[in-house]
Subunit: 153 residues, 2 copies
């Protein structure tokens, strides 16, 4: 995976969380993921096809996503209910779409599947592609967020 | 989602588990999923694009997938390690590919993303598409298996 293909996911995450959840997130240095240790309690996953095949995940702690969805819906969210899962699906979809638009400008044409949302305390995620999985950690006032991407090439 | 689009996933699951893991699985009646209750401890997820967008998941209990991967690898598997997750990714990929081949014969042309594997006791999965999520339950000597598919149309 080319390094220039990572920034669109980083930029999209910053843009979308600011626009949709009024949340400023600060990216730290992306790194190659060496294991599939738990990265969160709620994750959105979306597959991509086209010029290559890949997958994107965005993982939140329970506290973090409750704060984010509270911001999005304008009401206090106290549990990981279906509204939260739907919101994670929407965020995942829009981040994927925003990143794919920027990748298209760089010459990589990708289509997105529908999102799937996983909820379970401390679940582990493993992307099974031919290339490495790149993790992008973010810090925010709501808590930590991790975006992961993996492409076949 | 047309009913005729469900059988290819059912058939592929039966075929692939028999071929790859020497496991006979019996499908029960598919149903429309009404909630996102826990369906398993390890799941493989894959996105599809093309004539429509969608996602596929296959979920196993921990005991069930350990038995299946023991069959696949010819050695006793005692924990959900990276070998198990890689095997779930491979099964998901091959079931998706087999189902897409049969769907193509029915006039639906789909491409598959790479698989993502989730491990976490009792995790919940929610597919966020415009259509209903269809769940296909299977019974086997190794334990219960659930396949879910959701398409935008």
């Amino acid at each position: 995976m080319k390094v220039e293909y990572i920034n669109p996911f980083l930029n999209a995450t910053v843009r979308v969380l600011k626009t949709m959840a009024s949340l400023e997130v600060s990216p730290a240095k992306p790194y190659i993921k060496k294991n599939s240790n738990a990265v969160g309690d709620v994750s959105g996953i979306i597959g991509v096809t086209g010029d290559t095949q890949g997958s994107l995940s965005i993982s939140f702690t329970a506290e973090c996503i409750k704060q984010i969805v509270s911001n999005m819906l304008g009401e206090k969210i106290n549990e990981i209910n279906d509204d939260v899962k739907d919101a994670v699906g929407e965020l995942t979809n829009i981040i994927s779409g925003d990143a794919r638009r920027e990748l298209y400008e760089k010459g990589l044409n990708l289509q997105g599947s529908i999102p799937t949302v996983v909820a379970g305390p401390g679940h582990e995620i493993r992307h099974i592609g031919k290339g490495p999985t790149i993790a992008i950690p973010f810090q925010s006032d709501a808590g930590p967020i991790t975006v992961e991407v993996c492409f076949n090439r």
